[in-house]
């Protein structure tokens, strides 16, 4: 029988059983055998693979003090000579994700294959190039299914077997293109796809398009006269002069501006920085067309809404990665929830 494959796993202070956020400056320690999620990993892998050691470090220490944190990691990898490094999974924890990516990168530099797992929007995904990252959800409740996928890919890497495409092996695309011959011209392949569609056969697109989130509709609000309503506009309405230097094309962030005591926006005091509206109606005639403030003041006055929230939110509706859009949306939603706003009218230009 061949010798069992050896795995070294990296965990942060939390999953390594040291403690929570207050221990994020813990120095690197190396423990023989599996710890925490490593035990689940060992169960999944069975007898032919052994988790021989676990490297644990505080999130902040590992990432911020690399002069001190990386040498002991290198030393541990030299000592244990693993066939594979498994980092995490980190789920949606940003600094843990960065740490996992760092460990994988270090392993790869020393000729050891590595696999990690995290939520696709985790900053760790983009922090290093060419890593094998299994996409996970955001919750550690998904630990076992995440480890199962990481183990399946990890075993191939540990055995130095050929690894298929991101799609086949269910890892996140690594930005590496491998030329291959499809043996048919594009036009023929397009016609084949159309015919497949018509025949009802499964047709796989050659371009992967990320799916949008499907969100359940929030329940209706019967009596708005008791609630606060807020306005959001994607026309990039800002105080004239654009004091926050809001981007004019691709939104990177959102901004809130006070409309307390303002009944109507004027072109003297407000403008749209959206590059598509330069010299157009919102800037020359009437910014209220992108933020119907006079109408909401009227509805507030006659009691059809409880009140109009005294800050409106402004973004520039432009080409925006889904991850940024989600971050911006979450940020606005959190602030509005904290301000007890129950309903929002989004003016989407």
């Amino acid at each position: 029988m061949t010798r069992p494959l050896k795995i070294v796993q990296y965990l942060n202070q939390f999953f390594g059983g040291i403690g929570g956020e207050e221990y994020n400056d813990q120095p690197v320690q190396v423990i023989e055998g599996p710890v925490g999620p490593g035990r689940a990993l060992a169960n999944i892998l069975g007898d032919t693979v052994a988790v021989t050691a676990t490297i644990i470090a505080g999130d902040n220490f590992l990432v911020e003090e690399q002069d001190r944190s990386l040498p002991p990691v290198r030393q541990a990898l030299r000592k244990y000579q693993p066939d594979l490094v498994v980092a995490g999974p980190a789920f949606d924890a940003g600094r843990y994700g960065l740490g996992c990516a760092l460990i994988c990168q270090l392993a790869n530099e020393t000729g050891i294959n590595a696999v990690t797992g995290m939520e696709p929007d985790n900053p760790g995904v983009m922090s290093q190039k060419g890593l094998y990252v299994i996409p996970t959800g955001s919750s550690p409740a998904e630990m076992v299914p995440a480890l199962r996928k990481m183990a399946a890919l990890g075993l191939k890497l540990a055995r130095k077997e050929e690894v298929g495409s991101a799609e086949e092996e269910e890892y996140l695309p690594r930005g590496i293109r491998k030329p291959f011959n499809r043996h048919k011209q594009g036009a023929e392949r397009a016609v084949d796809m159309v015919l497949g569609r018509i025949k009802g056969e499964p047709v796989a697109s050659e371009i992967s398009i990320r799916q949008y989130d499907q969100v359940d509709p929030p329940p209706p609000i019967d009596d708005l006269s008791r609630y606060s309503v807020a306005l959001i506009t994607t026309a990039g309405i800002v105080p004239r002069g654009n004091p926050n230097r809001q981007s004019t094309e691709i939104p990177r962030n959102y901004f809130a501006y006070s409309i307390a005591g303002v009944d109507s926006l004027t072109v003297q005091n407000w403008e749209s920085v959206h590059t598509g509206f330069k010299g157009h109606v919102y800037n020359t005639l009437n910014p209220n067309y992108a933020l119907p403030l006079p109408a909401l003041r009227e509805l507030d006055r006659i009691g059809e809404i409880g009140q109009l929230h005294d800050r409106f939110y402004s973004v520039v509706g432009g080409g925006c990665p889904v991850s940024d859009a989600r971050r911006i949306g979450r940020g606005i939603a959190t602030e509005l929830t904290d301000a007890d706003v129950e309903a929002v009218i989004l003016e989407s230009t």
Partner: protein, 80 residues
């Protein structure tokens, strides 16, 4: 949400979509008299409130109920 191009948010799964006027003047129409324009903006805002008050199961378009509203000049929109 109020959109000048409702088919886009409806396709992407937005739940409550109110038809706006045009991309360049979403909640009103500068070709109308100031009074009619004010009425139109109010009607759009009221339609949005009606959408918030309505139970929906899937992406749903809310049209203005134009009974006492001014007629709106429609033309093809150059989307931005």
């Amino acid at each position: 949400m109020v959109s000048a191009l409702p088919s886009v948010p409806l396709t992407l799964g937005a739940h409550r979509v109110v038809r706006g006027i045009r991309v360049e003047h979403l909640c009103g129409d500068p070709t109308l008299s100031p009074e009619s324009d004010r009425e139109l903006m109010l009607l759009i805002a009221r339609t949005a409130l009606r959408a918030i008050k309505t139970q929906v199961q899937e992406p749903t378009l809310f049209e203005r109920e134009e009974t006492q509203a001014p007629s709106v000049h429609r033309e093809l929109v150059g989307a931005s």
